[in-house]
């Protein structure tokens, strides 16, 4: 267990700058999820923390100790790889105990630790198998077991569930959450799946193109996104964005929806003449709300508890409406709906910044 901090961390591969100055504080025992689209530098950042990639600039400290230049083995971190990286020629037992044995731990003690980890992960029956005789979920657990036995200060996970099928993914997600509570260890978890991020994290760090877009609790990111990217990335189905402009009287109007007026309580408000986007989540549409919209439904999906009506599919600013009542809607229905401006977020369409 340890806290971890990144300060002005940068990474370049030759002339290509991948991580552009990341500052981050991670508390002792926190479960932090790095989330972002593919290629944004999540793995690179995680590997820099692990010591598998050198740090071009900035410092990394773990438990108050500057580890920026330390060898991976001296940082007190353990990592679960996306590929699991189980040694194919070793049994499960040897895979889990390999690191301990190589560091000179007596055989009996290694045996004991392996047995302990195996029973915690329901692997006891499988100790003599080779990795290729295991299912995906079992391999995943062996990889986790290999991390646990080392009793690291920080656990690092790089997309550990992405090779599993949907059902197993949910199950392993719960298992990892359970592990986090039991071990009370600091964990950093990388994923491109915002649902995994929302469900697991104490703190989510949204990355884009090597920069931290926003860091905070799942609900803070959901309820108060700092910019267009975070607003669109967190939440499923994603937030709707409608084009808006400010008229000469300072009133925000929805240009694609009959110039409907949206009265927002803004601080300084937008600069005049900017293109704006108004964000509203699917579940915040409903009848009899202050801002009225008339829309034509393209498609309806019934998911049981909720139904989603899709509007303007194929246009540049489609809408998704969540409906829990009055669901007798079909393709072609003209729907009267609306939203509460207090639920809406205003963004500068060009810079993506939130306008408050």
């Amino acid at each position: 267990m340890a806290s971890l901090s990144l300060s002005k961390v940068r990474k370049s591969f030759g002339e290509t700058h991948i991580i552009h100055g990341v500052d981050l504080e991670i508390g002792n025992g926190e479960f932090v999820v790095f989330v972002g689209p593919s290629g944004c530098g999540k793995s690179t950042l995680l590997r820099m923390i692990a010591g598998l990639e050198s740090v071009s600039d900035g410092t990394i400290t773990i438990g108050g100790r500057d580890v920026t230049k330390l060898d991976p083995s001296e940082r007190g971190v353990a990592m679960v790889f996306q590929s699991y990286a189980l040694y194919p020629h070793m049994s499960v037992r040897d895979n889990i105990g390999f690191g301990l044995r190589m560091n000179g731990m007596p055989r009996a003690e290694v045996e004991r630790k392996v047995a302990e980890a195996a029973s915690a992960l329901h692997l006891t029956e499988l100790l003599d198998r080779k990795p290729k005789q295991l299912s995906g979920g079992q391999r995943q657990r062996v990889a986790i077991g290999r991390a646990i036995v080392r009793q690291p200060d920080v656990f690092l996970f790089d997309e550990p569930l992405s090779n599993l099928d949907a059902e197993l993914r949910v199950q392993m997600r719960l298992e990892i959450a359970r592990l986090h509570t039991e071990l009370a260890a600091t964990m950093i978890y990388v994923t491109h799946d915002q649902v995994e991020a929302m469900t697991l994290a104490d703190k989510i760090v949204v990355l884009r193109a090597g920069r931290v877009e926003q860091a905070g609790t799942p609900l803070a990111l959901y309820d108060d996104p700092a910019n267009l990217f975070v607003a669109g990335f967190i939440g499923s189905p994603r937030m709707n964005f409608m084009r808006a402009r400010q008229d000469e009287n300072g009133v925000i109007r929805l240009t694609d929806h009959g110039n409907a007026e949206v009265s927002l309580s803004l601080g300084s408000g937008p600069q005049p003449g900017r293109d704006l986007l108004l964000g509203i989540r699917p579940e915040h549409f409903g009848p009899n709300l202050p801002v009225r919209l008339s829309v034509m439904v393209d498609l309806v999906e019934h998911l049981g508890g909720a139904s989603y009506a899709y509007v303007g599919s194929g246009s540049s600013h489609p809408l998704t409406l969540e409906m829990r009542e009055g669901r007798n809607v079909v393709r072609g229905t003209a729907l009267e709906t609306g939203f509460d401006p207090a639920r809406a977020f205003l963004f500068d369409a060009t810079s993506g910044e939130r306008i408050r």
Binding site: G51, S73, E74, M79, F81, S83, M102, N103, R146
Partner: protein, 284 residues
Amino acid sequence: MTARSDRPGKALSLGLKHLAYLIIAFIFVLPLWWAIVSSLRPNSAIFADIFPFTPKALLPAPFTLEAYGGIFERGFGLIIANTMLVALVTMAAGLIVNGAAGFAFAMFDFKGKKFILSAIIISFMLPFEAIALPLYTVTQQLGWLDNIAALIVPSVANGLAVFLFYQFFSQVPKDYAEAARLDGVSWIDILLRIYVPLSLPTCISAALLLFIFQWEAFLWPLLAMPSQQFKVIQVGMAAFQQQYQTIWNQLFAVSVITALIPIALLLPLQRYYVQGLAGAGIKG
């Protein structure tokens, strides 16, 4: 039902096919077979059934092992032992040196890596004759002429073997090495306990390569051992042919032993050997 009526026809064509294979195989092994047969006949009967030819020429009759007894009396056993010594030491040292070099090229990035790799690749494309003279000069200056080190040391580092190892090790997912590094496993243990067990076919290929290279060496041992006190098998065979021009059955026995020892090594391992060489080209 239809299957049954087909069967005789199919069996016949299958039989013909196998007969054809058998004939082709026979043509290929014929020279070797004839050498074996001749080495098992008394010298006086070598050409007995050939002019005129009778099928008996292909059978070792009359049968005798005197040729083999004869060549060992003339010291051929020592020559085999010499060659084995040179080839096995080269093989063992070569596995270590070339394996470690291949591992370094696959694992680490360093200045001039591409250049050195290209030089290594070129080195195994150069014919030996091109470097024989410079190598001779160096060996002479080291004072290694007529020393067994002159046979072993220059052959330990082998460009093709380095390349084989490099090629294989770069295909092993880097995650294994990284997982082990996080666990504090030393590079040498990563090589010996993870990469080597995963690369057994490559190790066997490289070992055979090194062994056969030494087994076939002729020009270099001839140059490097001018006094001919220490003879290896190709040189020994050539000398034997010059010396005992008419003892045909013994000449054949020498050839048979020279050819069969590497074959005896290759056959049980050829599965790995072919795998290793093929993998070097295809998997990218």
